[in-house]
Symmetry: C2
Subunit: 659 residues, 2 copies
């Protein structure tokens, strides 16, 4: 009977995937066999029956996306990608979790066929939403009634832990509200998490919860039954809006630790590994030709065919819609199309807050670049993080302002998903102090080398009356310490343009632009020097005795203070970005901060610990290392010693201090 034969073949494939996975974990002496065994059948069904990808072009723009939210299931994903003919060899799988292998402990986006780095729980579903926001937006831009270029699914596999994380819960609520299409979450519901049984920490009604958030819910009772899984996914594809499929299974399925929390995070007893192989037959790490053939007959054939068809469609599109085609090619490359040198200028009388300047810049960029998208977490009217092009809603997929609600963390994870998708530049906006809520997703954007544009306003204690809960102090330091993360605090409106120029043109580094709430005057300085991270904005005219390093609104403050002082031996260095400064040559660094000048001072209304790097032991940090206070801006600035007169006194005192 053919149907029966097929089922048997499918079982053999699943058994192979399981065996290879636990053999790899066994060899690595480290890994997560539990989810590998419980999700192998689901993932195999998904890949063989549904996912359209092709090793002919692993980054094919219209491929289905897949995110292994439960990143600890990496060994399964690598095995399937190997079968799918992606550039992951059996040797690579044997190198699971080894240095510089393409099969690290948790999936990393650099590995062919991996669409997102995962591991920190809760991020994956939100990223999937971002991918489908990108998909739907680009579909609205490019698809024609007769020719469809963008039309793919995003699948996510998550575990129990993912659904407990706040970022997921925020994202679920928003996805339901936006009625995100073609997003299917497979939930490996295996009853166990690291510390024990799920029922010991979570007894909510999953179905009801998702339904309350506007999702469709489908249940698969037997996670080892690929036909049941296939039916569920087929059903999901017919639904309107986001769908979760809860697939019941046992963690460590088929092993001696089936259903046992001990199977979660350590290799199985070697007897188990041997047993799996014995039942399957063959040598360690061996995959029989029928299994390869199964993937050739399913995923590979289907994926390659889809890809070739798409190329054909693209060709017709090129001749029928040559202008759109050209634009589409630009989108494929994420080509920058904004000329910041001629985008917008603020004249010398401009003295509004840099958040207002950034609002104008946002709008100017969006008028030129229709592939610039983003939004704020219920604060756009305050941060000015809003662009032209209307709102992205369930009825308007061509809108470009995403209203995230008070969901900062999901906002960031969703933006990561948009950036991962490719084709769009994405910004997110909020109050600087609430960057705290986004830290896990910020780290991932830096780790995945996603050039997100982070836009924050209300940058210091100068926030004023809202008080210490709303006044950032240590946030700037927190972000300056993240690897591959560029923090820019522009000092005025025109430097804000330069900050956006850097952010917009970045290809591998997220950029964080931190703006003021309060007005700052436009300075008569060489703003273009921002590209070097730090530059001189007031040069000494006599022998250099003191260097003052500053940024943001404090640059004008320092310059204004010095106006009151007859001293020609002070240099003021505006340092909007230590990240960029660190990238400059030693020669340039020496020209700005000559080593022999040890009298150095940093002036910033925030924690300044990371800036000791430029100060040395004789240096002097004039910052804020306590929490703020609730008071009017002028009062608060005085309270913390940042009025012109106060600062001047401090400078004079330090200048005259004996070495």
């Amino acid at each position: 009977m053919i149907v029966g034969a097929k089922i048997n073949m499918s079982e053999k494939v699943v058994s192979t995937i399981k065996t290879i996975s636990i053999e790899a974990i066994d060899k690595a002496k480290s890994g997560h066999p539990g989810i590998a065994l419980s999700s192998a059948c689901s993932l195999n069904t998904l890949y063989t029956k549904f996912i359209n990808v092709t090793s002919m072009n692993p980054k094919w723009f219209n491929r289905d996306r897949f995110i292994l939210a439960a990143g600890h299931g990496s060994s399964i994903l690598y095995t399937i990608l190997h079968l799918a003919n992606f550039n992951i060899s059996i040797e690579d799988i044997k190198n699971l979790r080894q240095l510089n292998s393409i099969t690290p402990g948790h999936p990393e986006v650099e590995t062919p066929g991996v669409d997102a780095t995962s591991g920190p729980l809760g991020q994956g579903i939100a990223e999937g939403i971002g991918m489908q926001i990108a998909e739907s937006y680009l579909a609205s831009k490019f698809n024609k009634s007769d020719l469809v270029l963008v039309d793919h699914y995003t699948y996510v596999l998550c575990g129990d832990g993912d659904l407990q994380e706040g970022v997921t819960l925020e994202a679920i609520s928003l996805a339901g509200h936006l009625n995100i299409q073609k997003l299917i979450v497979l939930y490996d519901s295996n009853d166990v998490q690291l510390d024990g049984y799920v029922e010991e920490v979570n007894t909510e009604n999953t179905k009801l919860k998702f339904i309350s958030c506007g999702w469709k819910y489908i249940k698969v009772d037997n996670g080892e039954n690929s036909l049941e899984i296939e039916r569920a996914i087929n059903k999901a594809k017919k639904e309107n809006g986001p769908v979760i499929i809860e697939i019941k299974n046992k963690i460590g399925k088929g092993s001696s630790l089936e259903g046992n929390p001990k199977s979660h995070g350590a290799p199985l007893p070697s007897d188990d590994v041997i047993k799996f192989r014995e039942e399957l037959g063959g040598e360690k790490f061996e995959i029989c030709s029928e299994v390869y053939q199964e993937y050739k007959d399913t995923l590979i054939r289907r994926g390659n065919a889809k890809y070739k068809k798409w190329l054909k469609t693209l060709k017709i599109y090129a001749s029928k819609y040559p202008n759109d085609y050209k634009e589409f090619l630009n989108v494929l490359e994420n080509k920058p199309i904004v000329d910041f040198d001629n985008l917008i200028k603020f004249d010398k009388t401009y003295n509004k807050a840099t958040r207002f300047a950034s609002g104008d810049i946002f709008k100017a960029i969006s008028r030129i670049d229709p592939y610039f998208i983003g939004g704020a977490a219920d604060l756009s009217s305050s941060t000015q993080g809003e662009i032209e092009g209307g709102r992205y809603t369930k009825d308007n997929r061509g809108g470009r302002n995403i209203y995230f609600g008070v969901r900062e963390h999901a906002m960031n994870a969703i933006a990561n998903g948009i950036a991962l998708h490719q084709g769009l530049r994405v910004f997110i906006s909020g109050f600087f102090v609430f960057s705290d809520y986004m830290k896990p997703a910020m780290r991932l954007s830096a780790l995945m080398k996603l050039p997100l544009i982070y836009h924050f306003s209300h940058d210091s204690i100068a926030v004023g009356e809202d008080g210490p809960t709303h006044q950032p102090v240590e946030q700037i330091s927190m972000l300056r310490c993240i690897p591959n993360f560029n923090v820019i605090r522009p000092c005025d409106a025109n430097e804000t343009i330069e900050a956006f120029k850097v952010a917009y043109n970045s290809t591998k580094t997220p950029t964080c632009i931190v703006c003021t709430r309060q007005g700052v005057r436009n300075l008569d300085i060489e703003h273009k020097n921002l590209s070097k991270g730090a530059y001189i904005v007031k040069r000494e005219t006599e022998e250099l005795k003191l260097i003052i390093i500053t940024a943001g609104s404090e640059t004008a403050l320092v310059l204004d203070s010095l106006e009151l002082l007859e001293n020609k031996s002070i240099r003021v260095v505006n340092m909007p970005s230590s990240y960029l400064f660190d990238l400059t040559s030693d020669k340039y660094k020496e020209s700005i901060l000559p080593k022999n000048v040890r009298k150095r001072m940093v002036v910033e209304m925030s924690d300044c610990l990371p800036y000791y790097k430029y100060l040395g032991m004789d240096g002097y940090v004039y910052g804020v290392n306590t929490f703020g206070k609730s008071a009017n801006i002028d009062v608060i600035i005085k309270e913390f010693g940042f009025s012109k007169d106060q600062l001047l006194k401090v400078i004079i005192k330090y200048l005259n201090k004996e070495d």
Copy 2:
């Protein structure tokens, strides 16, 4: 008719509260009138009819707790606390949002009658859960069948934004699972948030969502009807488990901006303020005697009576259960009862990871102190953050291990609530890299001066195979930059004891103990010096030429490396806590890090930016400023240059470098 008269009186009281609140906002030229007007009736009903507090003792241990999760409604709370005879005068209310006033922009716990600092959305409900965990645990410890000492409610008022935050959503799920009692959330459902209408960002079914999480849901259709609100709260008090009461109202109710997002975050048009006062009668900021009388007849009379009755109960308790009474007094004072010098010792052969040492210490503390409580976010079996005394569950309120599930952020916010409650010492435990998920609540613990014990394991790239997503790099810097936050990285098992000693005895500062995943040998050093933050663990015997500053597992590494070197001019400083070191005298600092020695080096397998403070410009950071990699620990340590031999080479090279 008496009933009618009562309603009219209640209306007058509400009208007074509204008027005073918007007058205060008007005077401050800053504030949030929208929620003040929509929640005044709810809050007045809650305080006059239900909340048991007393100005005779604002910190009365068995008072009902109240958290204004939507902290921007502060003006209403201050006005009610004024009426309730707390030490907030009309002058204080006139000083709303002024420097050093007790009426700051968002409520701060230092103000009499304020139970939690609030403002950052989403924290309040989780804190309320923590308060009721504390209440139920202490009730299980002290209440007798005939005498009840601990038996209070916690009420929370939240807005639409709170319910969108992930931390709230995590907390809701856990509260339902734990079936938290006597927790009543009033949800000011006013249809508007900062950027616009709620329906534009959130269309989930609130009722269904809460029910799916095991909550009871009650709806009040008219938020201006105090009788309806009173009925709802009465009903809620009869329910089993946590309850949310959705109270429908219009933002800015009664003003010209009723229902308008513009009423959210800026003073109302002055005509509105004048209109409210005209309708009420009297002068600006005037409160008529009947309104004061109403509070005297309700809240004040009831609260004082309850308090006096409790004192009487306590007296009987003292004579009937003298030992328990003594213990209760200790609990009231949060009295430390652990003698760390005689608690536990690890001998010189101990070479397990500091996470295992901390596991033993946790258990030792808990054997002595029954008021030590806490838990982990699904990682206790790995971090060893577990104590004796069983699990806290819905059926066992006397358990002390809270299994938070994968809900790091809620874990921290709940722990803040436990600490705010008073009576218990609380710890939370997790992987260090996932401290990222907790940052907003960490900041609040520091801001509120809550002596939480943060326990993290897996402290560096030495995490190994799990790779960059699981290897902390910048986390240590992130936390070192928070004001009033003590980060300790103990170097071995015995120093871990000292770290716990500091953490346990802290009264106003959260302490974060960061432990290794891998084994470290116990060092022959003066561990007690940890209290000074930094101390010499290898002293030069010739003229001092180089100071090496290090911490954690790297201390042994540095010492071991130097074993291979014949050099008597090197000093090694173990610096587990820069926070504590900064608190020492200049003289002590000079004795450890003499200013004239400029050749200094920091060795830490993490980002070290904040440590430039101790290095100077001639100093040398030997740390990690990229993301980690997936590989076995020995391989990863070598890859990043932290093997003994590699480090030795680096030290020699730096030592011999020309100045």
